[in-house]
């Protein structure tokens, strides 16, 4: 080989990998160059201009300071999702020169060698734009709602999916311009298609699963609101499906992208000089998307049902409770449904804490109150028969909705509310509450006022006081807000007294149930320091089944009692003036 030949021939020999990488980097420059240019220009404009020429920046309406940085984050995240995909398009179509002839394709190279180089360059671009996006995020140092924490994983996944579809676009179109369009639009279309398929197919799988395990759609357990409405129950299931479904749809989208890239491997390596119809490939892709949509839906439905495994037993319990109440005699049902909390043998504090919970659900049968009753009032309460109680509560609502059943049940509730000998106060109040539509104010306030005026039992007084306060308006129960509760109860009674004394037309409804004298007696009990509660409570507190090894729990309970007594034993004039205006509550001594 002569010197001249070396100079013109061998001297510029590079390795195959190096040569292909340089070529592919040059092909990627078509997209990466302008993208970096646009991003850096905007970054310079947004961050630099307000520093250099703040007045000009304001004139241009540029976001400044933190706003400006925040503006860059979504921009860079968007670029991270789009640019690698478009780079893949440029790498795929870059081999084509005029008339579709291909230089690299005619050289003796394995397809994998050509692919590897393009894939490495695409990954490099992916890494660079990920770095830019997340570095911007870190610099901003704020938890952007869109890209904070776990959301970053989604962004990374979306960009990776885009990368696969970018390579795949070459299999479905002939020109680079339509390649960019397809790389952007096809994943969206596939995503929409997957969503549509999932919306159609997931309910079918759900019904199949429920049918196979004997799950009754009417009794879908819920932490929030239970309803027998089958439609809303199914929607509730959908809420549990959403997360696994989204994950499986994204996985399907990724698989479709990988298939597209595999389908286009020949084109990317240069085997596509002339015009070929992409219809067959698109048809295959559509079939794949539908199949994966069905598969995703099945996986999501099974995953959701597996996660909600406890629901099957809960579902059965609700169904048991529902069916037992539906078959019950109205008198017995009225009696059962108002046995909310037995007042005897419990600390007033505990009872009231539990009672508030019981009231909110209208129906808690005996046994519904569990050991959690001694827990903090703000904690979540759930008894061992909770699901069954839900079923019973719904069944009661169903029967109350039937006009014939409703009349019989209301009569039974009225009998219980009026029976001062056979039923204790709690049950009578619960029964009075059930006849709400027929004058719950009169029933409840009368019962509560009588209980306070007679004040045979400290718990009765506290319970009634809270009933008066709650009926007056929304408020916190005992022990938190005890002062508020006492004030509201007094104001409520004062209002009733004024109405009774005025002889207004409304007073007729109260006739035979409550008089001014009884109200005055009740007001006297509530206005004077209520020291009798401490006496009764001290005895009850000793009976609380608290473990001695739980000093923290006991200390917490004692503190709550101290708060309660501070509110109950102070003079009412320290809480409220004559006109009913609320004063500062007493400070609890440490």
């Amino acid at each position: 080989m002569n010197a001249r030949a070396l100079e013109q021939g061998a001297s510029f020999k590079r390795s195959i990998t190096q040569t292909l990488l340089i070529k592919d980097l040059r092909l990627a420059r078509v997209v990466v160059g302008p993208a970096l240019g646009v991003l850096s220009s905007i970054a310079l404009l947004v961050c630099g201009l307000p520093l250099v020429a703040p007045s000009l920046a304001r004139l241009m309406g540029l976001p400044t300071g933190r706003d400006g940085s925040w503006f860059l984050v979504p921009l860079n995240v968007f670029a991270f999702c789009l640019v690698p995909a478009w780079t893949a398009v440029a790498l795929s179509f870059g081999e084509l020169s005029r008339k579709g002839e291909v230089l690299t394709a005619t050289l003796p190279l394995e397809g994998a060698t050509k692919w590897r180089s393009k894939f490495l360059v695409a990954l490099l671009v992916y890494a660079v734009f990920a770095l830019i996006a997340f570095a911007t995020l870190e610099m901003v140092g704020a938890a952007m709602p869109l890209v904070a924490g776990a959301e970053r994983g989604w962004v990374v996944a979306v960009a990776l999916i885009g990368l696969c579809w970018g390579f795949g676009a070459a299999g479905f179109t002939r020109g680079i311009a339509s390649g960019f369009g397809l790389a952007t639009a096809l994943p969206f279309l596939a995503f929409l298609c997957l969503l549509v398929v999932a919306n159609v197919v997931t309910p079918i799988f759900r019904d199949l699963i429920w049918a196979s395990i004997g799950f009754d759609a009417r009794f879908f357990p819920s932490d929030t609101r239970f309803d027998i409405d089958e439609v809303s129950n199914k929607a509730n299931f959908w809420r549990h499906v959403e997360s696994p479904l989204l994950l499986s749809i994204l996985s399907s989208l990724f698989l479709c992208g990988v298939w597209s890239a595999w389908h286009a491997r020949g084109w990317i390596a240069g085997q596509h000089a002339a015009a070929r119809t992409p219809a067959r490939g698109l048809l295959k892709l559509a079939v794949l998307v539908v199949l994966l949509g069905v598969f995703s839906s099945a996986i999501a439905a099974v995953t959701a049902q597996t996660r909600l495994g406890w629901n099957q037993s809960a579902n059965q319990a609700i169904m048991r409770g529902f069916e037992s109440v539906m078959a019950m005699d109205p008198d017995k049902l009225a009696d059962e449904s108002t046995k909310e909390v037995g007042l005897s043998g419990w600390s007033c504090n505990q009872i009231l804490v539990a009672q508030r919970f019981a009231w909110s659900h209208l129906y808690v049968a005996p046994g519904g109150i569990a050991d959690e009753v001694i827990d903090l009032p703000t904690s979540r309460f759930r008894g061992p028969h909770w699901d069954e109680q839900q079923g019973k509560a719904v069944a009661l609502r169903v029967r109350m909705a039937d006009p014939n059943e409703r009349a019989a049940l209301l009569a039974a509730f009225e009998r219980i509310a009026a029976d001062s000998t056979g039923h204790e106060l709690g049950q009578r109040l619960a029964a009075a509450f059930k006849v709400e539509s027929r004058g719950v104010e009169v029933s409840l306030v009368s019962l509560a006022a009588h209980a306070i005026a007679d004040h045979h039992d400290a718990c009765d007084v506290l319970f009634s006081m809270e009933v008066l306060a709650i009926r007056h308006g929304t408020m916190q129960g005992f022990p938190h807000g005890a002062c508020e509760c006492r004030v509201r109860a007094v104001n409520r009674l004062r209002g009733v007294r004024a109405m009774l004394a005025s002889g207004a037309p409304d007073a007729a409804a109260w006739e035979g149930r409550l008089d001014v004298l009884t109200v005055d007696r009740a007001l006297a009990v509530l206005s004077a320091p209520m020291t009798f509660v401490r006496d009764a409570e001290s005895a009850a507190l000793a009976a609380i089944p608290l473990s001695p090894s739980d000093p923290a729990h006991r200390a917490q309970l004692e503190r709550r009692h101290a708060e309660l007594f501070a509110c109950l034993e102070c003079d009412i004039t320290t809480l409220i003036d004559e006109s009913g205006m609320r004063l500062e509550p007493p400070t609890l001594a440490e």
């Binding site: 080989m1 030949a5 061998a10 510029f12 020999k13 195959i16 002839e101 005619t106 003796p108 000089a273």
Partner: protein
């Protein structure tokens, strides 16, 4: 089969590396290739429809056909940039696809190189990826064809592009040379140099050649036989020598319009009052038949160039189904 070039004059320097590499590297002789019933369709267009072709080792074959006959598609199928719908291209035994490509030199009708590369970059690119690249031979080709290494591919004229395509395709001394209209736009001198180079390649390393060209004079110089192609099929294969020596044109005067000439002629047409017949084979037999039916007819033999011979064959193919 003769591998000798049709014209002996040469200006190509006989470089020792060229001969040594060609023989010592096991490249002496060409590659055989068989195309069997190749079929390829683009939408409704059948670019190849049962294309059969046998290329013997060292043979040089010209492909002649009208535009759209399937010649360029055949080349793309051979080098693998098109995937066949049916049929097979049988490579020599024991040769993988990659090894085959390393011995194939493809010169397309349009330069296939990245626009952003300079001519030097394009050559360096091929040098890195073509394991049989011969630097000395490449340098000699560049010098002969006057390649400006610094010029960008996108700035090259059509003729310069053809020259560069020639260098890129042949700088590894291929055993099978595929030329798809390689001389479009080149000047007369370069045209001559290219023909000389190809002739030397046939002569010295016995490369097999498949040349598609509308410049039929070139085919006469370079090929052993000419294959006529129409609508994706081989219609006829004729030894190049016979195209000129055994093809005759007769002008027949004194026969009435509507006269039906003897069968199996290459082509028949009317020129004023004379019937123009193109005949392949024994012309005396045809003359005797005409005179026996029309004793007053006057027959005139007209010499034919290869261009005219091929053109008449192509015209004749138009009536074929």
């Amino acid at each position: 089969m003769s591998h000798a070039p049709k014209e002996t004059e040469t200006r190509l320097e006989p470089t020792p590396a060229f001969f040594a590499g060609g023989l010592a590297g096991g490249l002496a002789g060409g590659l055989a290739l068989t195309c069997k019933a190749l079929a390829l369709r683009f939408g409704r267009v059948h670019a190849l429809a049962g294309f059969d072709l046998n290329l013997a080792e060292g043979e040089s074959v010209g492909l002649v056909g009208r535009n759209g006959a399937g010649k360029s598609t055949l080349f793309r199928c051979i080098v693998g940039t098109e995937v066949l719908d049916a049929g097979a291209i049988e490579l020599p035994a024991g040769l993988s696809r990659v090894e085959f490509l390393s011995r194939v030199g493809f010169v397309p009708d349009t330069l296939s190189a990245y626009d952003w590369m300079s001519a030097g970059d394009a050559i360096a690119y091929v040098a890195a990826l073509q394991p049989r690249f011969d630097s000395a031979w490449c340098a000699q080709l560049q010098r002969l064809l006057g390649i400006d290494r610094s010029a960008k591919v996108r700035d090259l004229s059509r003729g310069m592009q053809a020259r560069l395509a020639f260098v890129l395709g042949l700088s590894h001394r291929p055993s099978l040379v595929l030329l798809d209209e390689p001389l479009l736009g080149v000047d007369a001198v370069t045209h001559d140099v290219v023909l000389e180079t190809l002739a030397r390649m046939r002569c010295e390393i016995g490369a097999t050649m498949l040349i598609a060209s509308h410049q039929l004079g070139d085919l006469a110089r370079l090929t052993d036989r000419v294959v006529f192609v129409d609508r994706g099929k081989v219609i006829e294969s004729v030894p190049t020598d016979e195209l000129v020596t055994k093809t005759t044109r007769l002008h027949v005067h004194g026969v009435p319009r509507g006269w039906v000439p003897p069968p199996n002629l290459v082509h028949t047409r009317w020129l004023d009052d004379a019937a123009v017949l193109t005949i392949q084979g024994d012309v005396a037999v045809v003359e005797q038949r005409i005179l026996s039916s029309h004793p007053n007819a006057r027959i005139e033999r007209v010499p034919l160039s290869i261009h005219e011979a091929c053109a008449d064959r192509l015209r004749g193919m138009e009536v074929l189904p």
